[in-house]
């Protein structure tokens, strides 16, 4: 059987990588943000997590922001605002 050589149809990635910062060792006194992706029950999940974070970890404040819908990125001004106000941000993804 003769052999055939073919080109790969798979695309090439050209993106740079980012260093992801570590999470803080202690959440006490910190401000936690949520990006609500609008999917059903995310608001309730964030409510429940917020209560637990306040009770168990003594977080100082919780900031909530909502995207327009699940399939678009949060607007840059929202991200900038959260980056300024929060120490850790939990972003909803999927459903």
């Amino acid at each position: 059987m003769s052999r055939i050589r073919v080109l790969s149809p798979v695309g090439e990635a050209r993106r740079e990588a980012f260093t992801v910062p570590r999470l803080p060792a202690d959440l006490a006194g910190l401000t936690i943000g949520f990006v609500d992706n609008t999917k059903h029950n995310f608001d309730r999940l964030a409510d429940e997590i917020s209560v637990l974070l306040r009770e168990r970890y003594a977080v100082k404040a919780v900031v909530r922001r909502r995207k327009a819908n699940a399939s678009v990125a949060a607007p840059p001004e929202t991200l900038a605002e959260l980056a300024k106000q929060c120490d850790v941000v939990l972003a909803g993804s999927g459903d």
Binding site: R5, G11, A13, R22, H40, V72
Partner: protein, 409 residues
Amino acid sequence: MSELAALGIAGLPLLVVQHPLGGERPESVARKAREAVEQLAGLIGGATTGESGRVGAPRTSLRPPSEQADPADLATMDDDPQAVLAAFCERGWCDGLPVVPPTEGRVRAMLGGAPPERSLGAVPPLWRQATLEKLAVNAVLAGCEPAAFPVIAAAVQAMLEPAFNLYGVQATTHPVAPLLIVHGPVAERLGIHAGSGCFGPGFRANATIGRALRLILMNVGGAWPGRHDMATQGSPAKFSYCVAERVDASPWGPLCGDDAVTVFGGEAPHNVNDHVSTGAAGILATLADTAVSLGSNVGWFLAQSQLLVVLGPEHAATIAGDGFTRADVQRYVFEHARLPLRTLKLGGMWGMQDWPVWMTAVRDDDALLPQVPSPDDVFVIVAGGPGKHSSVVPNCTFSRAVRRPVLPL
């Protein structure tokens, strides 16, 4: 995880909430919240803060290309149709149907002198580059003729326009597929079928051009069923979805007479069967009823809701015979493809809707609410053969139709 890697943030901490979350009762959501917080406790143990004492902005660093996990650009396999299919399936490089082996010679012929390294942009969700060479490889795989390549490139450019939101189209659980409508003389030159059974099998140009786009979305974009393409059930339209306008049978001329493509993020066609109406009112009433339903995405995210109406030639002639213009059809569908508030409250996405303020203020349960924002969000084309059928293609509501000219590469 590979999507995070593609974004260059492979180390981003994740809290995994087991599916489903939507539709769960409060006690289930509370349990998932407790589980998420337990995961968070594990993640923060022993971690350190950034230099400023807060979690700082990411610092960029370039990883060696070898960590980007690009596949080998060449593969060798037995020169036998079944062996080639098996090899492509094994690598996850095709849709499961037989392929034409993309040899260098065939890819060069597909490019037709276009610069192979030119990229049209990064294709989500894995954000890999749509170089003309990669598009050509997939076009060969799909069985395309080289003359179709400029149409494929134009379609990719259209899908990469921000308004189309290809990331959403690729990653959603909705069964959306980009419908490619080819306009102008190029459609006839390429043999893109617009007559009987135009959404079905039997025509190489429709089948292979549509398939090439799907293979590009899978192989370049990286959207595989259950892995980045999270469609719950998907759709047969995801194999291939390409059609042309039946210009000769349209009472109103084509939607676009120039060489161009429109990409429309749509569901599979919904049949509009009306064998009895002898006037526009009856056919359009049937069509408007088909266009909206509680289970459709259309209407819930109003700003991006669009409908494509594909009139069969006989229906189109009857409607035009009553003096309707294309704009009249658009207006009629806009005014009549509506649901009462009481129906919308029954399920669907009630509670998650993104409506303008005037709609959210409505309290009358009998009020008929629009499902698209304007008549301009109803597109009307004519396609198909003899018979009393038309179709409606609802969009996915997070993507707007985009048109691009077909130009030499």
